[in-house]
């Protein structure tokens, strides 16, 4: 593997185009990360030297590893100086974002949008709207990060599937870690303290993903989440009561096991439905939190200093020191009788059974990762022809470009000639628009299209 520097952009570009091997590219201290991302090919690793980067970075290609190098306290520091919008946004599958310190962004620190198989690891993010926010991802890992100062959630997993959030630290955020409209997820080994609320598991209305289920919350330390809620008044987060260890609003099939839950002033675990929070405006959602199992946790000093909305709501009951508070009509929830905890509103709850335990649940990720649908070459050729080429070429008449019959005649027996043209089209005909180059479809697909047109189309 070679280590290249941005200073030699031309050399680098030529090396990249001539090799299919994964390369290691280095961004020298303070250089442009985006420039190197633009030059990188799928599979490449980009090493960012320690230094200060007043930049935003966008990654729209698959299989890129973006790694901040660290020398003691000297990080690869992305600093938006409260002028830039977001730190890193990545849409490419199999993105790795590792080892950055991120501060001073008006929007999010690190975000993925629609990236499958993502990994966000060992970053330190402070003071963004959402610190780390994977959205629309299938299969991902958030591990070893520290997040603080987020006006919403420090780590926010939104509308995603098969995600593990492991061994992170979240403090001083409105919410430490949140799963929103997320299915099949694990939160384990995290230390979540001094947020307004520690962990929130939610089903938010008005989003395109309409359910949230199968989440395991185990072996976390959820301590002293009594920070004042500093979310902007217009946000949903503003309604989250400070002093809450874990808040569950809407999702189903949730296991909360073997956590240390301590010193959260209002309540340890608060299970409610969307109606309680006035969030039931979406008729396509089931507003109830069903199948919440709370078992085998360690409790200390929760609900001992009640205040705010929850104190008012519960004043009439005269109860404090509540470990598990339930409101609304969820079904099939349980606590383990042996745990001997103080509960309120759990009359409809049952006793958990030993075999409800998920102590050994190691990962919610997919074995082998999320895969792209597989297509044969024949399908790739035919389907891409239909999806792209037919917009301009009809079989037997002129559309925006010449007819495919006439093209078949020109390139009869010469598929590579056709690939040459569509990779780098030149002006040939008067009065026709220019044909856009189709290189982005990739060599394999271009070959498949050419053989489809010459061998199968119209036959």
């Amino acid at each position: 593997m070679k280590t290249l520097s941005t200073l030699h952009g031309a050399v680098l570009a030529s090396l990249l185009s001539s090799t299919a091997l994964a390369a290691e590219l280095t961004v020298p201290s303070g250089g442009s990360i985006q420039d190197v991302v633009n030059q990188a090919a799928p599979g490449d690793t980009i090493l960012v030297e320690p230094g200060i980067y007043h930049q935003s970075v966008y990654v729209d290609k698959p299989r890129i590893t973006l790694r901040g190098l660290r020398d003691g306290d000297n990080w690869a520091l992305l600093d938006g100086e409260m002028k830039l919008n977001d730190g890193i946004i990545a849409s490419g599958h199999s993105i790795v974002i590792d080892g950055f310190r991120v501060t001073g962004y008006k929007g999010n620190g690190i975000m993925t949008q629609g990236a499958n198989n993502f990994e966000i690891s060992n970053n330190y993010v402070e003071g963004a709207f959402y610190g780390i926010f994977p959205q629309f991802g299938r299969n991902g890992l958030v591990i070893g990060n520290t997040v603080t100062g987020a006006e919403d959630a420090g780590i926010y997993v939104g509308m995603s599937d098969n995600v593990d959030v492991i061994d992170n630290v979240a403090f001083g955020n409105v919410m430490g870690i949140e799963f929103e409209n997320t299915r099949n997820a694990l939160m384990a080994g995290n230390h979540v303290y001094d947020n307004a609320a520690g962990i929130t598991l939610t089903l938010v209305p008005g989003l395109p993903v309409k359910d949230a289920y199968s989440q395991v919350i185990r072996d976390n330390r959820i301590i002293g989440n009594n920070h004042v809620n500093f979310a902007p008044a217009s946000s949903i987060a503003a309604g989250v009561p400070s002093g809450t260890g874990i808040l569950v609003v809407g999702p189903d099939n949730i296991t909360i096991e073997n956590n240390e839950i301590a010193d959260n002033d209002n309540v340890g675990v608060f299970v409610a439905d969307l109606i309680t929070f006035g969030m039931d405006s979406d008729p396509k959602l089931d507003p109830y939190s069903d199948g919440v199992r709370v078992m085998g946790n360690t409790w200390r000093g929760n609900g001992e200093n009640m205040n705010g909305m929850l104190a008012e709501m519960l004043a009439a009951t005269g109860k404090t020191g509540i470990e598990v508070l339930a409101m609304g009509k969820g079904r099939d929830s349980c606590v383990l009788p042996g745990d001997g905890i103080d509960t309120l509103g759990t009359r409809r709850w049952q006793d958990c059974l030993g075999d409800n335990s998920v102590a050994g649940f190691a990962t919610a990720r997919l074995e082998g990762g999320a895969e792209e649908p597989e297509y044969t070459l024949e399908q790739k050729g035919r389907l891409t022809y239909l999806a792209v080429c037919t917009g301009c070429h009809a079989y037997d008449s002129v559309l925006h470009g010449p007819s495919m019959q006439s093209i078949q005649a020109i390139y009869d027996g010469d598929p590579s000639g056709m690939v040459g043209y569509i990779t780098d089209p030149v002006r040939k005909r008067e009065g026709f628009p220019e044909m856009p180059p189709q290189t982005y479809l990739g060599e394999e697909t271009l070959d498949a299209i050419a053989s489809y047109i010459l061998e199968d189309l119209g036959k």
Partner: protein
């Protein structure tokens, strides 16, 4: 020989009026063994659960499929004023292909001026929620609304059926497409079939999404980054690739210039959260369909982006107690710079793609034959 050629040429115009229905699927559709047409797009090569966003989100073809004949018959019907009571208004009168399937007006004009603007029909086959307030779910059900609305085409079921059965060309064409005489049910199916063929998924933006980094220029890329970023948050509701999530959202639109404040979905529900809620519209071919918003409140895209770049609720109608969506300028307005506003507008222009524009019929089946 020469005489025979001459005969052919002379006969040609008359023969062209013999209307037949296409037996091939429209471009970008493949024919399945059941004889229906299925859309093919590059977004089918990706893997993600339904309703996901991001650049390479999977987009499945619409589940409702139609035959080539139904689609082509729908094309004739869409352009044919025979469907209106006065015989003067077709779907295309308001949804004009040359104007992005809209009309360039603040609000649609039928028998009278309507209260809402005419939305584009590009990609409407994907919609799970139709109309500005989301009050219908299928194109078939939707088509009855303008047809039977006294302020629009003002027809009756009986009137439509009588007119189509009496028209010179339609009975035979409905026989080909449906094996039945024209009736209201197969009429709306044909209209839905045609509208489902209006596909726009090959813009320069799409080429970028599929991997062509050169398809957008630097300003457009900056605009895209602002659009999907978490200060402006546009893509949280205008989710790619369709640039809508089909959800209702309260953005705090101003009353129109007549002073009318449309309650939107609030008129259909007691839920206070619905007051002033409108369905997020697609932004595909948005440069074609000014003026913007549900009553044409904004003449330009600059006007729209400036609206979003202001504090939440600044333009909301007086007296309406709106629950403005949390993604709308969460922290005192996004304060995007003038340059960023221009970048976003440039990006929106990269969503243009009208390659699959259908052909306007030269002759209609309702017109008398020579």
């Amino acid at each position: 020989m020469r005489a025979w050629l001459l005969f052919l040429i002379l006969a040609a115009p008359a023969m062209a009026e013999e209307i037949t229905l296409s037996d091939t699927c429209p471009p970008s559709f493949q024919m399945l063994v059941d004889g229906t047409c299925e859309l093919v797009t590059l977004y089918q090569f990706y893997d993600s659960p339904p309703q996901h966003g991001g650049l390479r989100a999977r987009l499945d073809p619409p589940a409702r499929r139609y035959t080539p004949q139904q689609i082509d018959l729908g094309r004739y019907l869409f352009f044919d004023p025979i469907l209106s009571d006065g015989g003067d208004l077709s779907c295309a009168s308001c949804h004009d292909p040359a104007q992005g399937f809209s009309d360039g007006k603040k609000r649609g004009i039928g028998a009278v001026e309507l209260d809402r603007s005419t939305p584009t029909l590009w990609n409407v086959g994907f919609a799970q929620s139709l109309m500005w307030d989301g009050r219908t779910e299928t194109l078939e059900a939707q088509a009855l609304l303008p047809l039977l609305n006294p302020d629009e085409m003002a027809a009756t079921v009986e009137g439509v059926e009588t007119a189509l059965n009496a028209a010179p060309g339609y009975v035979a064409l409905f026989q080909i497409a449906f094996g039945a005489a024209p009736n209201i049910a197969n009429t709306v199916i044909a209209l839905a079939a045609f509208q489902s063929s209006l596909i726009s998924l090959n813009s320069r933006y799409d080429r970028y999404a599929h991997g062509d980094a050169t398809a957008l220029n630097p300003q457009e890329i900056r605009g895209m980054n602002a659009f999907r970023g978490f200060v402006a948050r546009c893509s949280q509701c205008h989710i790619p690739p369709l640039f809508t999530d089909f959800e209702l959202a309260v953005v705090g639109a101003p009353a129109d210039e007549r002073g009318f404040a449309d309650p939107g979905a609030g008129a259909l529900s007691d839920d206070p959260a619905r007051l002033g809620a409108f369905k997020t519209p697609t932004l595909r071919n948005i440069t074609r369909t000014a003026p913007y918003f549900h009553a044409g409140q904004f003449d330009t895209l600059k006007g729209v982006v400036d609206f979003y770049n202001n504090t939440a609720g600044h333009a909301a109608p007086k007296g309406q107690d709106l629950r403005i969506h949390w993604h709308v300028h969460m922290t005192n307005g996004p304060k995007l710079s003038t340059a960023t506003v221009a970048d976003i507008i440039a990006f929106l222009a990269a969503l243009e793609d009208e390659n699959l524009m259908p052909e306007r019929p030269a002759v209609l089946p309702s017109e008398p034959r020579p």
